[in-house]
Symmetry: C2
Subunit: 164 residues, 2 copies
Amino acid sequence: MPGDFSLRTVQVTLSPLDRFAQFLQSRGKRVTQQRRQIVEQVFSHHDHFDADELMAHLRDELAARRLSRPTIYRTLNELVEAGLLRKMTLGGRSVFEHEYGYPQHDHLYCQVCNALIEFHSQALERLCDQVARQEDFEVLGHRLFVTGICAKCRRRQKPSRASD
Amino acid sequence: MPGDFSLRTVQVTLSPLDRFAQFLQSRGKRVTQQRRQIVEQVFSHHDHFDADELMAHLRDELAARRLSRPTIYRTLNELVEAGLLRKMTLGGRSVFEHEYGYPQHDHLYCQVCNALIEFHSQALERLCDQVARQEDFEVLGHRLFVTGICAKCRRRQKPSRASD
DNA sequence: CTACTTGCAAATCATTTGCAGATGA
DNA sequence: TCATCTGCAAATGATTTGCAAGTAG
């Protein structure tokens, strides 16, 4: 590799917690045990989750009263504000996913097992821009859900095509 | 015009109310004053609406107690089941739009004024099918929201580009 | 007639908020 | 120190449900 490593601010490598700390500081907010704990749990693995699932993971802390339901909700909202999480609504329920350090993507949603399968399409982005241009609309983001039945559930539902 | 009008079952011309009546009958349910009234109001014009907006339109009936909040909700759900309405969630609130007799489309969503601008794209449908094929996923539908700022609001927000 | 419907009031359910005590910078 | 946080309990707000009385077929 040639030595073309030029000036490059490595802000992307900031850990979610550091990034959050930075956000909090900029707002005069504090880095507390609870917020630390929640961020750590949330970014410990890549997955879609809702408040209940997160609470299930933190049940010990909740049981020990070192953490509470309202704090979970408050912190999730802050994480969205901070741009660390993306929030979406799925069947009346708020579902979150990593936004920070994670590439833009859309979802296939299996309405049988509720699985969310991620995919990315540049063509889709071009399509959004194109439509927007026609309407003189400024695109800030998009969300595509393709609903249907995932491979696994299809196999389960149609063991044989006898009755068709 | 040449006389090529061949056999053509005109089931599409069924009014929303008739279509609903048909659905109700198939379920052993009844065509009541309330359901009739709601369907009529809902299909009196093409627009997106939520339960509150619908209730505002029917406020006289509600005031006269010939109709109630629970009945509105119950009937809206039946209309979705019947395939007459499509339901989506927008900011925690259920929003409905005509599905029966109305072409498939997607939306530009202005996050400033909450306007929903409809558009249709065949390319998008092809894209969904293509992605689905790769994942061995059976597509039953899709929903694309392009969020951003509509032309009107952009003009209002940036009267001049002075500060840029 | 009689099962399906309705309006009412009360229940849900996820999420939010007021407040007094606890705590991070 | 002292403004920001937190847990608690209670409030919210949209939507749903149990039930006795009303009504469609």
